[in-house]
C-alpha cells in the first residue's frame, strides 16, 4: 500500500488531470471537430435530405383507350398528388423500358375497351405495374393507385348503376367504409423527429465510449501511463479526471442537438427536459463505463477503436431501433439487442421527446438502463483498478 492509496480522493489531483486532458482534447482538432460535425450533419441530412414519406412516385400511363373516361382516370391519378407523371407511353415496350431503367416506379395500363365496358356496365380491369425492388415504396405506391382507382370507380359506379336501374334505387355517395387515419406523435411524419433521439444515443456513445477509450489507451501506447502510476495519483483519480472532460463534451453535444433540433428543425420536446437530461446522464455513464472497459482490454489505439465500435457504436446504431425497427428483426438479433443499453435509451427518450410521457410510463426502460449502467460501471471500475492498482 502506497501512501497515495491510503488517503482519500484528492480534488486537486483530479482537477489537474482534467486540465491536462482538456488540453489534449483541444489539440486533437480533427476528433473534436468530428464530435460536433457528426450530430449537425445527421440533423441536416435527415432534416433536409431524407424523407420516408413517399410522394411524387414517378408514374407512366399507357392509355389504349383515349376516351374522355380513360383520360378522366389518368387525370385523377396525376392530380392525386401522389404521382409525378413521367409520360404517356405509346406501347407496352415503353412501359417496360421505363420500369427497367428506373425512370418510373409504377405504371398504369388502361385497356382499349375501357369506356365501352363502363358504358355497357360490364366490369373492366385496369392494370397497375409496380416496381417491387424497394418493397416499402412499392407497398405505398400500390396503396395509392388502389385508392385512386377505387375513388374513380366510386365516382362513376353509382351513376352507371343508376342508369341501369332506371333511377329507382337510392344510390349512396362516398365509399361505404372510410378509413380515417390519424398519425399520433409525429403527424407530419417528419423523419428528423425520430432521428433526433437516435442521434443523441449515437453521439453519447462516440464521445463517451470511443473517445474515452482512446484517450486512456493513448497513455498506454505512449507509455505515459507508467509515469502516472508511479506518481501519487490513484487509478480512480486518473479515471475520474479522464472522464470529466468527455462528460462536459457530451453534454455540450446534447445541448447542440436539442437546441438545433428545436429551433432549426422544429422537433418538439413534449416531455420533461429534466427527465431527458437525467436519462441521458445515466446512458452517458453507461457509455463511459463501456469506454473504460474497452481501455482495459485493448493495448493499442487501433484495437481500442475497433473494439469500441463493435461493442458500443454498432449496437447503438443498429440494435436500438434508432433507424431500423426492432420488431421485425429475427428473434436471435432481437435477443442480442436486449443486452445493449441503446434500445432502452432510445425507447425512453423517444417517449419523452415525441409522446410527452414520463417515467410513470417509461420506468421499465429506465430501470433496465440503470441496471445495465450499474453493472458495466462496476465491471469496468474493478477491471481498471485490478490492471492499474
Amino acid at each position: 500500500m502506497t501512501a497515495a492509496a491510503r488517503r482519500g480522493l484528492s480534488w486537486r489531483t483530479i482537477r489537474a488531470i482534467i486540465r491536462r486532458e482538456i488540453t489534449d482534447v483541444r489539440r486533437d482538432r480533427r476528433s473534436l471537430l468530428l464530435t460536433f460535425l457528426y450530430p449537425i450533419s445527421m440533423l441536416l441530412m435527415y432534416g433536409y435530405g431524407i424523407r420516408y414519406d413517399v410522394d411524387n412516385v414517378p408514374l407512366t400511363i399507357l392509355d389504349y383507350d383515349q376516351t374522355p373516361e380513360s383520360r378522366a382516370l389518368a387525370e385523377q391519378l396525376v392530380r392525386s398528388g401522389y404521382f409525378h407523371l413521367v409520360r404517356f407511353a405509346r406501347d407496352e415496350r415503353q412501359v417496360e423500358r421505363d420500369l427497367t431503367t428506373d425512370t418510373s416506379r409504377a405504371a398504369v395500363i388502361i385497356p382499349v375497351d375501357f369506356a365501352d365496358r363502363i358504358r355497357a356496365g360490364v366490369p373492366v380491369t385496369v392494370q397497375a405495374l409496380i416496381d417491387g425492388s424497394d418493397a416499402n415504396t412499392a407497398t405505398i405506391a400500390q396503396s395509392y393507385v388502389l385508392a385512386v382507382v377505387a375513388r374513380y370507380a366510386e365516382s362513376i359506379g353509382p351513376r352507371h348503376l343508376l342508369a341501369a336501374s332506371g333511377g329507382t334505387v337510392s344510390v349512396p355517395t362516398g365509399l361505404p367504409i372510410e378509413l380515417k387515419s390519424r398519425v399520433w406523435y409525429n403527424p407530419e411524419l417528419k423523419s428528423v423527429n425520430f432521428i433526433v433521439p437516435g442521434v443523441i444515443a449515437v453521439i453519447m456513445m462516440i464521445v463517451g465510449a470511443i473517445m474515452t477509450a482512446l484517450s486512456i489507451v493513448k497513455e498506454k501506447e505512449r507509455g505515459t501511463i507508467e509515469q502516472i502510476l508511479v506518481s501519487p495519483i490513484r487509478p480512480t483519480e486518473m479515471m475520474l479526471g479522464k472522464i470529466v472532460p468527455y462528460v462536459i463534451l457530451a453534454f455540450v453535444d446534447l445541448m447542440i442537438i436539442v437546441t438545433a433540433g428545436y429551433f432549426i428543425f422544429e422537433v418538439p420536446i413534449k416531455g420533461s427536459l429534466v427527465q431527458l437530461a437525467l436519462l441521458s446522464l445515466v446512458y452517458l455513464t453507461a457509455s463511459l463505463g463501456l469506454g473504460v472497459f474497452v481501455s482495459t482490454i485493448a493495448d493499442t489505439m487501433q484495437t481500442a477503436m475497433i473494439a469500441a465500435v463493435f461493442i458500443s457504436l454498432l449496437p447503438s446504431v443498429l440494435l436500438s431501433g434508432f433507424v431500423f425497427p426492432l420488431e421485425n428483426m429475427p428473434v436471435a438479433i432481437r435477443a442480442i439487442s436486449y443486452c445493449f443499453p441503446g434500445r432502452y435509451f432510445v425507447t425512453a427518450i423517444r417517449g419523452i421527446y415525441l409522446k410527452g410521457v414520463g417515467l410513470e410510463v417509461l420506468w421499465p426502460q429506465a430501470l433496465m438502463l440503470l441496471l445495465f449502467t450499474a453493472g458495466i460501471v462496476w465491471l469496468s471500475a474493478s477491471r481498471f483498478n485490478e490492471k492499474l492498482g
Binding site: L34, G49, I50, R51, D53, V54, P58, L99, T100, T101, D102, I118, V122, P123, V124, T125, V126, Q127, I130, D131, G132, S133, D134, A135, N136, T139, I140, Q142, S143, Y144, L146, A147, A150, Y152, A153, I156, G157, P158, H160, L161, V169, P172, G174, P176, I177, E178, L179, R182, V183, W184, N186, P187, K190, Q302, M305, E327, N328, I333, R350, V357
Partner: protein
C-alpha cells in the same frame, strides 16, 4: 514494357504478402463481408409484418368482425393487446405496446346497412415515420378493397347487376413480386463492400508506406509512381471481385435471391465502379498522413454515397435541390446497374447511360488522384 510489367508484378506480390501478414487487415477482409451480410440481410432488410395492433370494436357486429378479420388476414398485423375503450388506445400507444389502433364506432354496421359511409378510425404511432407510412398504406389498401366489396355486393343486390365493381384494379408487382426487402438489399451489399474495401483499404495500404517511411525507399527504386499505384491497387481490385462473388453466392444460396440478369455483365460493369472507388481511395491517401486519418477520410467520402444514392432512401422523395445534387454521387449510377441486373434483368441497352457516366467519372477521378499523388511524390 515487360520490365514495367514485371515491376508491377513485384509490387503486387509484395502487397499480397503484406496483406497476408497483417492479421488485422486479413481479419477485416474476412469479417467485413460477413458483417455486411448479417447487417443488411437481417437488420436493415426487414419487412414490416406483425405490426402490433389493438382493435377497439364498439360495434361488435358481423360487419365489424369481417372487417377486423380482413385486416388480420392481410398478414401485416397482429393483435398485441386487448382494447375496450378509447382511453386504452392512449395508454397502449404511450407505452409503445402497439403501433396502430383501430376504433370501430358503434354505428358501423348500421351505417353500412343504411348505405351511408361508415367510418373507421385508425391511430398510427408516427414516432418512426417510415413504419407509420407503411402501416397506414396497408390499412388504406385493406379498407379500400373491403369498401369496394361491400359496395358492389349491396348494389348488385339492389339492382340485380354485376356483383363486381365496374372498375377494378389489378395491381401486379414486377421484379420482386413477394416484396422481400432482402432482394433489394443484396445488390446493395455488393456496393457497400466494394466501397469499403476499395476506398478505405486502398487508402490505408498506401498511407501505411508513408507513415512507416517506406514510401521514400520505394520511390528511389526504379519503380515509377504509376507502377507503384497499379501494383498496390491490383490486389484490392481482386478483393473487390472476391467480395462480389461472395455476396452473389450468399445471395443465391442463403438468402434465396436469384439474379435475373447476366452475371458477366454485372462483373464487367462492376469494373467501372471499382475504377471510381480506386480513384477515391487514392485521393483519400494523398490528403492523409496517418492510417487513422486515411480511414476517416475514406469513411467521409463513403457517407454521402450511402445516403444520397438511393441505396437506402428513395431519391424521388428528396427535395428537388438534393435530387439534383445526387447526380454527382457515383454510387447512384452503380446502384442502378446492380439492382437493374439483379432484380430487373436489365441488359446493356438499358444500362449503357449509367455505364458511360461511371466510366467518365472513374477516368476523371483517377486522373485527378494520380496527378495529386505524383505531385506529392516529387
Amino acid at each position: 514494357m515487360t520490365a514495367s510489367l514485371s515491376r508491377i508484378a513485384h509490387v503486387v506480390w509484395k502487397e499480397v504478402i503484406q496483406i497476408g501478414r497483417d492479421r488485422r487487415m486479413f481479419g477485416l477482409i474476412l469479417i467485413m463481408p460477413l458483417m455486411e451480410l448479417i447487417i443488411f440481410g437481417y437488420v436493415v432488410a426487414t419487412d414490416l409484418t406483425n405490426i402490433e395492433l389493438a382493435v377497439c370494436d364498439y360495434d361488435r357486429s358481423a360487419q365489424s368482425r369481417t372487417y377486423v378479420d380482413q385486416v388480420l388476414r392481410s398478414g401485416y398485423f397482429r393483435i398485441a393487446a386487448p382494447c375496450r375503450t378509447i382511453a386504452d388506445v392512449n395508454q397502449l400507444l404511450d407505452r409503445g405496446r402497439i403501433k396502430v389502433a383501430l376504433v370501430i364506432p358503434p354505428d358501423f354496421s348500421a351505417r353500412i346497412k343504411r348505405q351511408q359511409p361508415a367510418e373507421v378510425l385508425a391511430a398510427v404511432d408516427g414516432s418512426n415515420s417510415n413504419t407509420a407510412m407503411i402501416a397506414a398504406a396497408y390499412l388504406e389498401q385493406i379498407a379500400v378493397t373491403q369498401a369496394v366489396d361491400v359496395q358492389f355486393a349491396d348494389h348488385g343486390r339492389a339492382v340485380g347487376a354485376a356483383q363486381h365493381p365496374v372498375v377494378a384494379l389489378e395491381p401486379r408487382v414486377w421484379f420482386n413480386p413477394e416484396l422481400r426487402s432482402v432482394r433489394f438489399m443484396v445488390p446493395g451489399i455488393i456496393c457497400v463492400l466494394i466501397m469499403e474495401s476499395l476506398v478505405i483499404l486502398t487508402a490505408i495500404a498506401i498511407v501505411k508506406e508513408k507513415e512507416r517511411g517506406t514510401m521514400e525507399q520505394l520511390i528511389v527504386t526504379p519503380i515509377r509512381p504509376f507502377e507503384l499505384i497499379l501494383g498496390k491497387a491490383i490486389p484490392f481490385v481482386g478483393l473487390g471481385y472476391v467480395n462480389v462473388t461472395v455476396v452473389l453466392l450468399a445471395g443465391t444460396y442463403w438468402f434465396d435471391v436469384d439474379i435475373s440478369g447476366s452475371v458477366p455483365l454485372l462483373y464487367a460493369l462492376t469494373g467501372l465502379f471499382i475504377l471510381t472507388c480506386l480513384g477515391m481511395g487514392l485521393l483519400a491517401s494523398t490528403i492523409s498522413n496517418t492510417q487513422q486519418q486515411a480511414s476517416m477520410t475514406g469513411q467521409f467520402l463513403i457517407l454521402p454515397n450511402m445516403f444520397f444514392s438511393g441505396f437506402m432512401f428513395p431519391i424521388a422523395s428528396m427535395p428537388p435541390l438534393v435530387q439534383t445534387l445526387t447526380y454527382i454521387i457515383p454510387l447512384r449510377y452503380y446502384i442502378t446497374i446492380a439492382r437493374g441486373i439483379f432484380l430487373k434483368g436489365a441488359g446493356w441497352s438499358e444500362l449503357k447511360d449509367e455505364a458511360g457516366i461511371l466510366l467518365v467519372y472513374g477516368i476523371l477521378i483517377l486522373t485527378v488522384a494520380s496527378l495529386s499523388f505524383r505531385k506529392q511524390v516529387r
